[in-house]
Amino acid sequence: MATAAALRIQIEDALATRFPAALTPVVHTIRETATTGIAAVDTLLEGGLPVGAISELVGPECSGRTSLALAFAARRTAEGQVCAWIDAGDAFDPESAAASGVRLRQLLWVRCGNHMAEKRGKPWARLDQALRVTDLLLQAGGFAAIVLDLGGMDSAHGMRIPLASWFRFRQAADHTRCSLVVLGQASFAQSSAAVVVDCMGGRAQSQGKTVLTASIFEFRRRRQRFAPQLVGQRKPPASVSDTQAAWTVHAAWSAEKSA
């Protein structure tokens, strides 16, 4: 055993300049989480979205991404924190945000792009603006949550964001303890994301044939780093029920509360 330990130290010393602690297991980090205010999602994510990391809410249009992000922002502003919404597609609706409980006074809204100057189907200018603004806000610090809304952007365009940008965002979010929430039609941050949640469309609920009262959205946890895990315990096999959840969200005009 002594020989094996000595051998390990020798190998690690030799590789130290290229691979620090090459043969030592990586220390498991347990991230602090912030609740989204939606019990089903918090249970699925074991506490909520991580603080100081990137979370991605991925799915097609009308899959509940925006409702979930607004619920998270509402909870953060309710705690007296300050949030930012970087709106690459200029799609943010202040009325919906207010109805969801977001305290608008504590929300910085940045609308990217210029519809008059932008050619149809060429979102590079607003994408560039959104990335630069995200970088500035993350570096400034003090924001509890920043929502980077790329939800209306074609996934082919979003996939062209350099991975270096996401690495930088991850580092900055870690340093400033900011939850960076990215809305998109595909996972753009890839390995930089701590949590990826697939939003898989919804089913409408109505009252009679005249009033749309609610939507039931389904979510699936695709990726979750930093999950709490006991030392020495093996990772249990994931079942469908462990990785999926449904959430009923009522319309603003509905009298019932969301569950």
Binding site: G37, P60, E61, C62, G64, R65, T66, S67, L68, A71, A74, A78, E79, G80, Q81, V82, G89, D90, A91, F92, D93, P94, E95, A97, A99, G101, R103, L104, R105, Q106, L107, L108, W109, V110, R111, C112, N114, H115, V133, L136, A140, G141, G142, F143, A144, G151, G152, G202, A204, S206, K209, T210, L212, A214, S215, V249, H250, A251, K257, S258
Partner: protein, 498 residues
């Protein structure tokens, strides 16, 4: 009765000093200032290096241009006015009772410093501190301290450095001064010249009765001045704190770097002046006089009053980059609004919020990227018109209190601007629509929800809203909000329910 004590500050060649104060790059060069109409300009002030080259008062422009290496600048009364205010403020740190005794070519103030020895030390130490304070404000002054007002004034105007006149030595200290130091009209000088009287000592030695008999009652006052015994009723000026710096360029400036170079020095001066009163800068108004008689104005209002020079300069830089002047700049004015120094009480359990000054710079940078009107806090309008809001400047409220969160609701994603669509109706209900090249079949349509208002004005609206669920041939369902503008008969795709 308490003993009188006066200190006089005398800034000679003030037109040149006022210009050089904001131009440190010219301080190592010979500089002369021209005054007068364009056809008859002459030297009115110059610095020490120019004097060494042979520059004297009254030289014409042509003669001055023949002296190599001398920088010729035009006299700027506005700059002198701003410099005078700065000098007055610096002097006010030592005494609230100040009287101005400026002449055409010099700026002078006499301070009533009786009793100030307890604060600033004995007269010699006080004079040294006065001179240091003036040097920090950018002025080279001579200082004279005396128990007589006029003696201090004349001593400061006719000597360099620091002069102290002890009690009882007033007449002796003035004895060698020429009669011109009295600053009287021409007539008595001619008479004195005929009598062979050239110095104040000789005038003081004349018999008083005979002098008054020949020259009138005024002669008694002249002789008192020459003996350093003239009485004076002190008339203090009221100095209001005006934080203003002005500079007029010799030639129009187009480059932002040049403007910022000067603005940095002006901000330094403003901050120093505000700090001397234990104040900060709450707002900064920048006014640029442009070619073509236009004026360009910028306003900076940091979240908190500050004395951080770099921060203010960065804000100004970003503001100027976002709103550059449309022509070359002829003159620059910075006016600051004083405010109380900011104090923030942080709490151990208070939520983390952005640092106000850093947030200001970040917001200015973001405005430069996306446009000023596209950054801020959304504020809902007090109206039933759909999608009515405006944005206000984002500010972090330090007194934010927590409150109970509301349950989440179904959110809309707005389509801006709303897209015009072609809708197929059956029994006045949408059954399909076409958005650009894409056709959608309506699986369910909920509505209509009608709203109208402002029927009395041109902003009238009358819309019909439908919540529509679609399923396209690929099976991808959309939930969207369609509106029918009943006034114009147009259907639009307003938002997606996400």
């Amino acid at each position: 009765m308490s003993r009188e004590l006066y200190a006089c500050l005398h800034a000679a060649e003030f037109p040149a000093q006022a210009v050089l104060r904001l131009r440190p790059d010219l301080k190592a060069q010979p500089v002369a200032v021209l005054d007068g109409p364009a056809h008859d300009q002459s030297i009115c002030a110059f610095n020490r290096l120019a004097a060494q080259r042979g520059v004297v008062h009254g030289l014409s422009r042509l003669e001055a241009e023949c002296i190599s290496g001398v920088q010729l600048l035009m006299r700027a009364p506005a700059i002198e006015q701003a410099a005078r205010a700065v000098m007055l403020e610096a002097a006010a740190q030592f005494s609230p009772r100040i009287e101005e005794v400026s002449t055409a070519n010099a700026c002078s103030f006499v301070l009533d410093v009786a009793g100030c020895e307890l604060l600033f030390g004995p007269a010699a130490q006080m004079a040294a501190r006065l001179r240091q304070a003036m040097a920090a404000a950018g002025f080279r002054v001579s200082v004279a301290v005396s128990g007589n007002f006029h003696l201090a004034r004349m001593k400061a105007a006719n000597t360099r450095g620091i002069t102290l006149v002890p009690a009882g030595e007033e007449a002796a200290s003035l004895a060698k001064f020429p009669l011109g130091a009295l600053g009287l009209a021409e007539n008595p000088y001619e008479t004195f010249a005929l009598w062979g009287i050239r110095t104040l000592g000789e005038l003081a030695a004349l018999p008083e009765v005979e002098l008054v008999t020949r020259l009138g009652a005024e002669a008694r006052e002249w002789q008192a001045l020459a003996r350093g015994a003239a009485r004076h009723a002190f008339q203090p000026i009221e100095s209001a704190l005006t934080l203003r710096e002005y500079y007029e360029f010799d030639s129009p400036v187009e480059q932002m770097e040049g403007l910022l170079f000067l603005a940095a020095r002006m901000i330094d001066c403003l901050v120093e002046r505000a700090s001397a009163h234990a104040l900060s800068l709450a707002a900064l108004a920048v006014e640029m006089k442009l070619e073509g008689n236009a004026t360009h104005r910028l306003n900076l209002r940091p979240a908190l009053p500050t004395v951080d020079r770099k921060f203010l300069l960065k804000l100004l830089h970003l503001e100027m980059a976002a709103h550059p002047p449309q022509a070359a700049v002829l003159a620059l004015t910075l006016t600051a609004e004083p405010g109380q120094s900011s104090k923030i009480q942080l709490g151990l359990f208070a939520p983390q919020t952005p640092e106000p000054s850093r947030l200001d710079v970040t917001l200015a940078r973001i405005k430069a990227i996306v446009g000023e009107e596209r950054v801020g806090t959304p504020v809902l309008e007090d109206t039933h018109r759909p999608a009515s809001f405006h944005t206000e400047t984002f500010k972090v409220d330090a007194k934010t209190s927590t409150y109970d969160p509301q349950p989440a609701r179904l959110a809309l994603r707005r389509v801006r601007p709303p897209r015009t669509i072609q809708v197929t109706l059956r029994e006045n209900k949408p059954v399909g629509f076409r958005d650009g090249g894409q056709s959608y079949q309506v699986a369910a349509a909920y509505g209509p929800w009608r709203s109208n208002g402002c029927w009395w004005s041109v902003d009238a609206w009358d819309t019909e809203e439908w919540d529509v669920l679609t399923a396209d041939p690929d099976g991808v369902a959309l939930s969207c909000l369609l509106t029918n503008d009943r006034l114009r008969g147009v259907w639009r795709l307003e938002a997606l329910l996400d």
